[in-house]
C-alpha cells in the first residue's frame, strides 16, 4: 500500500498535474481507454540508447496527443533487464503497464534463470530494427572487410574490439565475427554505446560494432569509418558501405525495439496501445528520426510479432550456446 500511495502521491501527482493541460483526449475508435497514467517500463538504465529511444516515444506520444493519459517512463535496468522482466511477470493482467524491449528481452532469461517466460507476455508492437555496422577509426588504414580481417589476424589475438557488456548485443556480433572468420579478438566491454564510440575515436580500441546512431556524429565529422553493415541490404544512410552478406559472409544481426504488455492483458487494451503505436509510427518525427539514425522502421503487431520473438529467441539461444562452447 505504501508502495502504491507514495508513487501515486509524488511522481503521479506531479506529472499528472503537468500534463492534464495538454491532454485533450484523443477520440479513439476503441471503447477502452486508460484511466490513469500509463507506465512505460524500460529494460535499461537512464541515459543509454534504449532509454533515449523510449523517451523519444514518450515525447512523441505526448506532443501528438496520441494517448489520453500521460505516459510515465520507469527505468528498471537491473540485471540486464531482469528486473523489468520480473516486474512485468509479477503484474499479470495489468492494463496500464507496457514495456519497451531490446534484445536482452531474449538473452537475459536465456543466460540466467529468472523465472520468466517471454512467451507469456502480450506482444503489442515492433517499432524498429536497429542495425549494426563495423567501424574503425578514420586514421586507420583499413578500408575493407578483407583489410580488417587481415589486420585482426596479424594482431594475433590482441585486436581490441570495444562493445557493450558481455552477453549483450555487441558481444554477440563479435562472437559471430570470430566464428565466421576464425579469428581471435580481445573483447573490451564498456558501459554504453556512446562510451564505446568515443573510445574508438580516441584511439583506445581498434574497432567497434556500434549502432549507426551511436557513431553518426563522429562519422559526419570524419572521425570514424564504416567498413561493413550487418544488414541484408545496404543502409540508406551509408549507400557506399557494403553489407557483410554482399561480401559473402552471412552475418545479419538486428536489435529489435518493441513494446510488450504483461501476461493476460485485456484484448481491448492491447488494441488501444497497438493503435497508439501505429499512429506513432506514421508521425513525421519518427520518420525523420529513423532516416537520420539509419534505423529500419519495420512495424509489426500481434501473432506475427510473437512468432518473430520466439524465432529470435531460438537464434539467440544458439549464438549464446556457441559462445559458451568457445569460452569453455
Amino acid at each position: 500500500m505504501i508502495h502504491k500511495s507514495i508513487r501515486g502521491g509524488i511522481v503521479g501527482a506531479a506529472v499528472t498535474a503537468l500534463f492534464t493541460l495538454g491532454s485533450t483526449s484523443l477520440a479513439s475508435a476503441e471503447d477502452w481507454a486508460p484511466q490513469k497514467p500509463i507506465e512505460m517500463v524500460i529494460m535499461a538504465g537512464q541515459g543509454g540508447g534504449a532509454d533515449r529511444l523510449a523517451r523519444l516515444f514518450q515525447s512523441i506520444i505526448q506532443k501528438e496527443n496520441l494517448a489520453s493519459m500521460p505516459v510515465l517512463p520507469v527505468n528498471k535496468g537491473g540485471g540486464s533487464g531482469a528486473e523489468a522482466l520480473r516486474y512485468l511477470s509479477d503484474n499479470s493482467g495489468d492494463d496500464h503497464k507496457i514495456m519497451a524491449t531490446l534484445n536482452s528481452y531474449y538473452t537475459t532469461p536465456l543466460r540466467n534463470d529468472i523465472g520468466v517466460d517471454i512467451e507469456e507476455f502480450t506482444p503489442i508492437a515492433r517499432m524498429a530494427l536497429d542495425t549494426f555496422v563495423l567501424w574503425v577509426n578514420a586514421d586507420s588504414d583499413i578500408q575493407t572487410m578483407d583489410d580488417w580481417v587481415a589486420a585482426v589476424k596479424e594482431a594475433g589475438g590482441t585486436w581490441k574490439m570495444g562493445g557493450t557488456g558481455t552477453g549483450q548485443e555487441d558481444s554477440l556480433v563479435t562472437a559471430m565475427l570470430q566464428d565466421t572468420f576464425d579469428i581471435e579478438i580481445t573483447y573490451v566491454p564498456f558501459k554504453g554505446g556512446g562510451e564505446v564510440a568515443k573510445n574508438l575515436v580516441g584511439g583506445h580500441i581498434d574497432s567497434t560494432v556500434n549502432n549507426p546512431s551511436e557513431q553518426m556524429g563522429f562519422f559526419q565529422a570524419g572521425k570514424s569509418r564504416p567498413i561493413a553493415a550487418f544488414t541484408p541490404e545496404r543502409l540508406g544512410a551509408f549507400p557506399d558501405v557494403p553489407t557483410a552478406r554482399e561480401l559473402g559472409h552471412d552475418i545479419v544481426y538486428w536489435m529489435q525495439r518493441s513494446f510488450v504488455g504483461p501476461k493476460d492483458m485485456p484484448a481491448e487494451a492491447v488494441a488501444y496501445y497497438t493503435e497508439v503505436f501505429r499512429q506513432l509510427s506514421e508521425t513525421e518525427e519518427w520518420k525523420t528520426y529513423t532516416a537520420d539514425k539509419a534505423l529500419m522502421a519495420d512495424f509489426l503487431t500481434g501473432d506475427e510479432l510473437q512468432a518473430y520473438f520466439l524465432e529470435e529467441r531460438e537464434k539467440h539461444a544458439e549464438i549464446l550456446a556457441a559462445m559458451e562452447d568457445e569460452a569453455s
Binding site: 503537468l18 537512464q46 523517451r55 505526448q62 573490451v188 558501459k191 556512446g194 564510440a197 537520420d292
Partner: protein, 506 residues
Amino acid sequence: MEVLSLLADGFATSLSPLNLMIVLLGVTAGLFIGAMPGLGSVNGVAIVLPLTFIVPPSSAIILLAAIYYGAMYGGAVSSVLLGIPGASTAVATTFDGRPMAQKGEAGLALIAAATASFIGGTVSVVLFTLFAVPLADLALAFGPAEEFALVLLAFTTFVGLGGDDVLKTIIMICLGLVLSTVGLDLISGQPRLIFGDLPGFYAGISFLVLAIGVYGVGEVLHTIETSKSAPQVTPAKLTFSELAAGLKAMNRLWKTMSIGSFLGFFVGMLPAAGATPASLMAYGIARSTSKEPETFGKGNIEGVAAPETANNAASTGSLLPMLTLGIPGSPTTALLLGGMVMWGLMPGPMLFIEQPDFVWGLISSLYTANFAAVAINLALIPLFVWALRMPFTVLCALVLILCIVGGFAPSQKMHDVWLIAAFGFGGYLLRKADYPLAPLVLALVLGPLMEKSFRQTLIAEQGNVFAFVERPLSATFICIALLFFILPLLKHLRKVLRKDVSAPAE
C-alpha cells in the same frame, strides 16, 4: 574575436523576455528540486522534458539547463541543513556544512555555498566559452587507463591526508569497495554478492541509498541520543549585516575557490568522471593545502566553499563532452542529450558548426542562469535557515520522512527503503565507534568506476600492468597520486627531523 561576437549573438537569444522568464522559473524550480533529498536534477529534467515542445528548442534547452543549474545550487541546502546530501555531488558539502549548521552558522554556510557555486559556475562558463572546441580533443584522449589513474588520484587526495585514524580510514574504504561490487558485473555479466538471490541487489547499491542511510538516518539516531535534553541544532538567524560579513569571509577564500573552479571544470569535462569526484578532490586538496587541516570536518568554511565551487564548475564542464562529442557525462546530461535528439539536433563534433545559434544561446544562458541562481539562492537563505527553528522533535520526524521518500522515489523499490534503515543503523554504530563515514561513501561512488577502468585496461593490454605508466597522461596522474600519498609522510618525517636537529641546540 569570433567567439565574442558569437557569444553576443547568443545573449541576444537568451536575454529575450521569454527566455529570461524561463531561466528564472527553471532556476527556482531546480533550487527546490535539488534541495529535496533524493530528488536531483535528473528527476527535474526528466519531468519537464516532454513539456519543452511548447517552446522553441533554444528556449527548451535553456529551461533544462536552468533546472540543472538550480538543482546544483539547491543540493547544498539539504547537505548543510539536514546533513543529508541531496545528490552525490553534494556529499563533500556535508563534511563541513553540517558541523557549521550545528554551530549555529547555517546561514554563513549557505552563503558560502551559494557564492562558491557562483564563482565555480562563472569561471567554468568562461573557460567553456573560450576553449570548448579544442578541449573536446582532450576528453577523447581519455581512455580506460587514464580514467583509472584519475580515480586513483581522487582516492589518494583523501587517504593521504592523515588526521583521521589512518587504519580506520582504510577499513572504511575497503568496506565501501566491497559494497560497490554488489550487483551485475559489467565485464562478465554475472551477478555478484546478491545475498542468495535477492532481485533488489541486481541493480547494485545506489550511492543515494548509502548516503541517505548513514548521513540522514544515522545522524538522526545519533542526534536523538546525544541531545536528550538540549537540541543539537542551534537555530540560526540571518541579518543583512551577517550576509555582508559572510560575503567578506568569502573574500579570503579566493585561492580555494580558484583551485576548485579549474579542477572542477577539467574533471567534469572528462566523460567518465563528473562532478562527484571533482568535488571530493577539491575538498581533499583544500584540506591538504590548508594551514590548519585539523579544523576541517569541524565546520571550516573552506570545506564548504571548495566542493561547492568544484561541483558547479564540473556541471558546466560535463556539458562539454555532451555537446561536442555526443557523450553524456552524467545521467542528467544524458537526458539533455535525449532532449536535443528529440528537437532534431545532432550533438557531436558538427553541432558547433551547424547550429551556432543553439549552442551559443545555451552558453549565454549559462551566464544568466548563474546570476539568477545566486540571487534567488541568497534571497531564500533566510527561509531555509528559518526551517531549522522547528522544534527538534518535529525536525527529526521530518528528516526521517524525507529520508524514506528520498530513498524510494528514484528507484520506487521498497528494497531500497529497507537498505536505508540497515545503513542508518550501521552508520550510527560506526559513528559511535568513531569510524569516518566519508571514505565509505567515497569508495562506493568511485569504486565501480575504478574497477571497471582497471579491468578494461588490463583486458585491452593483455594483462600488462605497466600499461598504466606507459601512457603519458595516466603516468602523470599516477605520479601526482603517489605524491599525495607520500606528502603527509614527508611532512611527518620533517617534523621528526626538525625535532632531532633542534634538540641538541638547546
